[in-house]
């Protein structure tokens, strides 16, 4: 079975159960988006699927093999992860940061080509000599996205490569939010799987083939955007009253009010 698969996964952090019995599949060619309120366990579920957090129970597999069987270097060739926030130490340049993603074994010319293409894709090619820490937050986020894209751009071996993005649009302006999601879509069209955590429900509806809504560590709803973006689900997941409309090809949500405790 190819793709990233979680079966009945439970994750504990510091003795607290943050993900409870979650199952999901990220098949090659599909974009799956996790939504849910703060602290719902989205990043922890992503962490279990990336191999960073060992599940307390349940099974996580990558293309049919248990995730725990992979060494970090092998894992890095098959999936790349953009974390929520990356605090870079020392004054690395944009170009150097993008290169940190490169897998070993590329020729110099290949590496140069991969890095310049990745920087072009995130619209940072013109700033490749700049010191990363002197850029704005959104620009830094795009540099790290370029690094993650470079990680997956190694020589093709026929296996799908998966892209995992934790709030990739946070801090980005509107056009770069859309550009980031197009990159994710392009990655899926090229045969890879994409798992992304998004806070903006409308962006999620636009970007996703499947939305998975979490609350308090449990999956509340899972399905196509039109199936998940409903009054009932939004009320249950976010405690929010919302008006759901349709703007072809998909649904959109207009928040109305929140139920405060």
């Amino acid at each position: 079975m190819s793709g990233l698969v979680a079966e009945d996964v439970t994750v504990r952090l510091g003795g607290r159960e943050v993900v409870s019995g979650a199952s999901l599949e990220v098949r090659p060619g599909r974009v799956v988006v996790l939504i849910g309120p703060n602290g719902a366990g989205k990043s922890s579920l992503l962490g279990a699927l990336s191999g960073e957090l060992a599940p307390a129970s349940g099974r996580v597999s990558l293309d049919g093999e248990a995730l725990s069987a992979f060494r970090p270097a092998e894992l890095a060739r098959r999936r790349a992860v953009l974390a929520q926030a990356t605090e870079l130490a020392f004054a690395f340049t944009v170009d150097e940061v993008a290169r940190l993603g490169l897998p070993a074994g590329l020729s110099r010319a290949e590496a140069d080509a991969v890095v310049s293409q990745a920087l072009l894709a995130v619209d940072m090619a013109g700033k490749s000599r700049r010191i990363c820490s002197e850029l704005s937050g959104g620009e830094r986020q795009r540099v790290h996205l370029a690094r993650v894209l470079a990680q997956l751009a190694s020589a093709p071996d026929g296996r799908p490569r998966h892209l995992m993005l934790d709030e990739p649009t946070a801090g980005l302006d509107l056009s770069h939010q859309l550009a980031t999601l197009s990159l994710a879509r392009r990655h899926a069209e090229a045969g890879g799987g994409v798992l992304a955590v998004l806070h903006d429900v409308n962006l999620a509806a636009m970007a996703a083939d499947e939305i998975v809504a979490l609350k308090a560590g449990r999956i509340i709803a899972r399905g196509a955007p039109a199936e998940v973006l409903t009054d009932a689900v939004m009320r249950e997941v976010y405690d929010v009253e919302a008006r759901i409309g349709v703007a072809p090809p998909g649904p959109f949500l207009l928040p109305q009010s929140v139920r405060l405790v």
């Binding site: 960073e52 060494r71 970090p72 890095a76 130490a89 020392f90 004054a91 150097e96 993603g101 070993a104």
Partner: protein, 348 residues
């Protein structure tokens, strides 16, 4: 400055400092003369040399040669160790002293000086001369090993715990060292004090040879460490995501730095500041990428220690100043000046 130019500049500085270390002293020997003398030694052997050559050969081979070799090894080990520690800890303040090496070595040194006297009298002179450095070496290693044990749980070494435990362990070790200092006689105190300030005065080929494998091991590990250290600049999570076995990297770095710095401190005494400052100087010139930073820092550290030793030999002739005084007295103001001019460029 490009990375290649930076490494080349550090290498040139090291060669100059080594030439000065071989040539400067009561009898000045120019590089040309040194080559001539060594060439003659290679052709004729030491016994067949004319008297003036024999004198210069003795100075070069028996006195300044081991001193230069040990200085280069110690400087390279401390600077490389500092660069690796700053990378692993993602902290610009880190240096080999932070993981207990210098404290542990100092404790073992004072323990040998104060408590080992009876044992020392029974050892043959050749072994007795090595007893202090060997004790210091194992003291440094033991302190780091203890620290690593404290900071590792379930196979994971916590960096923040390592830092804090290093400070606490350092304080405790310093207290025990203080107790031994309190018990020491005046002559023992003087021996210990001079040891802590560092000196290459007691350098021998044997000491240099003993330090070589430990320093060389860390130098050989540079390519294996460089990519991982670059990735760790992103944080441990992102380093793991990009394919680095972070726990293995930390163990390798800690072991390599502890062994090579302990060897350096054992041979040359606790010389401060080079481990902290040399990596920063190099980073300012060529940026933080470890592929170039690590070799350049090793060369710059070796050059800095040798240059400091040359200064230590000539400022108070015919007496010799402790090197630690020179590295700190010249190095610290220079480093402060650099910090004021280039603040912000240091750690990004």
């Amino acid at each position: 400055m490009t990375k290649t130019a930076g490494v080349a500049l550090a290498a040139a500085f090291f060669v100059l400092a080594a030439a000065a270390s071989l040539g400067v002293g009561p009898v000045a020997i120019s590089p040309a003369r040194a080559l001539e003398v060594l060439g003659a030694v290679a052709r004729l052997g030491r016994a067949g040399l004319p008297p003036d050559m024999a004198r210069d050969a003795a100075i070069l081979i028996d006195v300044r040669g081991p001193r230069t070799a040990l200085g280069a090894l110690a400087g390279a080990a401390l600077a490389l160790g500092g660069a690796v520690m700053q990378g692993v800890f993602r902290n610009p303040l880190a240096d080999p002293g932070l993981v207990g090496v210098s404290g542990g070595a100092a404790l073992a040194a004072v323990a040998w000086i104060v408590l080992g006297e009876g044992l020392s009298a029974t050892l043959p002179p050749a072994l007795n001369a090595l007893a202090l450095p060997v004790a210091a070496f194992f003291g440094g290693l033991a302190a780091t090993a203890l620290l690593a044990r404290i900071a590792t749980r379930d196979g994971r070494t916590e960096i923040a715990v390592t830092l804090l435990a290093g400070v606490a362990l350092g304080a405790f070790v310093a207290a025990v060292t203080g107790l031994l200092v309190f018990l020491a006689r005046d002559d023992q105190l003087r021996t210990f004090l001079f040891w802590t300030l560092g000196s290459l005065g007691g350098a021998t080929w044997v000491k240099a040879a003993l330090a070589t494998p430990f320093v060389l091991a860390l130098v050989v590990a540079i390519p294996a460490l460089a990519r991982g250290l670059d990735a760790v600049a992103l944080g441990e999570r992102a380093a793991f995501h990009s394919g680095v076995d972070v726990e293995r990297l930390k163990r390798l770095a800690l072991l390599g730095v502890a062994a090579s710095s302990a060897a350096a401190v054992a041979g040359a005494g606790a010389i401060g500041f080079i481990g902290l400052a040399a990596p920063h100087l190099v980073r300012l010139a060529i940026g933080p990428s470890h592929h170039a930073l690590l070799p350049a820092a090793a060369l710059a550290g070796a050059g800095l220690l040798l240059a400091s030793d040359v200064a230590a030999r000539i400022v108070a002739q015919p007496a010799e100043m402790p090197i630690g005084v020179v590295t700190a007295a010249f190095g610290a103001p220079f480093f402060l000046w650099l910090l004021m001019r280039r603040r912000g460029k240091l750690f990004g």
